[in-house]
Symmetry: none
DNA sequence: GTGGTCTAGACCACC
DNA sequence: GTGGTCTAGACCACG
């Protein structure tokens, strides 16, 4: 149950925001979506670090912050697991998506593209990302 | 001729993003909103620096980057002015929008929201951003 | 004889090199080509400045430097004229052109374009510039 | 791991063009020449700054601009590396070359050289620049 | 007057 | 360790 999740994580090296933040938000989204369920164990720091070619300290930092936020729980000597009662309704998941959509909308406005074009392009992108 | 725009800029000292970025975004927004029109001259580096109690180099960096992006033009010895709309083709503008859409799509997938929900939410966000 | 030459000058506002340098090199080329012949009078500082929408001091600086170089001569109270013995052979004119060609060649190499493509493009540009 | 590239850089203190530009051109040339290959890491800002007795910000500015141009990539906490050749399309590369060719053409016209001569000279320059 | 460059030295975030 | 940001203050080129 540890090797199946390593593939769930990915980082965008070209992104402006730090790796540990990318990891944190990914875990949160996966929990919100139910892909990661309460009680699931997460891949070890070393596994993730190796799979993503990242410094272990970076992964550790993400896990620590997630523990402080109550998203994860430390299993003394056995890694981390998803904390209880983190299941989120559709509304909450939509709220998590909003920032990214708002950013896209803001940029679209500045580029002066009309809504039809924007939506069409987004549909296309969504299809590719399936 | 100095009082016309100095008040347009403001910075949030406690903000996570750097001052020069805040300035850049502001100029872009002012241009997009039509407050700054092509041909308008901007307050000098020194004026802005003094008005905001910031180092001139910081303002200079913002102006510089805005020039590189084609938003501003240097007026040799007379400061900077808003560039004539070198309106890019629609295809190019769509390409510029793609990264933001792709990011949103990736996050939406991880949240396991269905396409209809995602698109509906995006339409709503777009409407709010008008 | 003063109004016919004003049109000979032009400046590229987007160019990285200063206006007075652009003017200097243009006068040199026009002299080398024989368009401006020894004894020809040049348009006054004021005329050029107005025609190009440039600060008169800038034009004046160019004229002064050209006088120092011996390209122009001051006609006490009657403007400047092209100095004697400045007619140049074809070889010298080619030498004047070289820097621009070398720059283009260097950039072309960095862009990894093959010679045939480069030359074809240049022929096209030459035709447009006729 | 520090001695491999420090010696590659050098600056001409008496040069008309700024230090950061000299560094930029050098890196580009080293990349073009194959001395620096995609994936190679560059000496750190501090190393270069010390080796050249220059302010770190100056080196940083050069690296920064090279990143914006896509020549270098940031390696989060591990310095900069030469970017993977994101080879642009031929059309785009030709567009990038045009300005230099147009400038050369304009100058050639003012020198009143005939097209055959110009092209012959350009071929020669191209051969020398190989 | 304008912006451009550079310095010396500080502090911060990230890995 | 890495690069990023900012400051204070200097000097220069251009118009």
């Amino acid at each position: 149950m540890a090797e199946h999740t390593a593939l769930l994580f990915s980082i965008a090296t070209g992104s402006p925001d730090p790796i540990y933040r990318q990891l944190i938000e990914q875990v949160k989204r996966l929990c919100a979506a139910g892909v990661l369920k309460p009680g699931d164990t997460l891949p070890s720091v070393r596994e993730v670090a190796q799979a993503l070619a990242v410094n272990p300290m970076t992964v550790s930092k993400a896990y620590n912050l997630l523990e402080m936020e109550g998203v994860l729980e430390r299993l003394r000597g056995q890694g981390m697991q998803v904390a209880q009662r983190r299941r989120q309704g559709k509304g909450e998941r939509e709220a998590l998506l909003r920032p990214a959509l708002e950013r896209a909308a803001r940029e679209a406005r500045q580029l002066e593209l009309d809504d039809a074009t924007i939506l069409e392009l987004f549909k296309q992108v969504l299809k590719e990302a399936t």
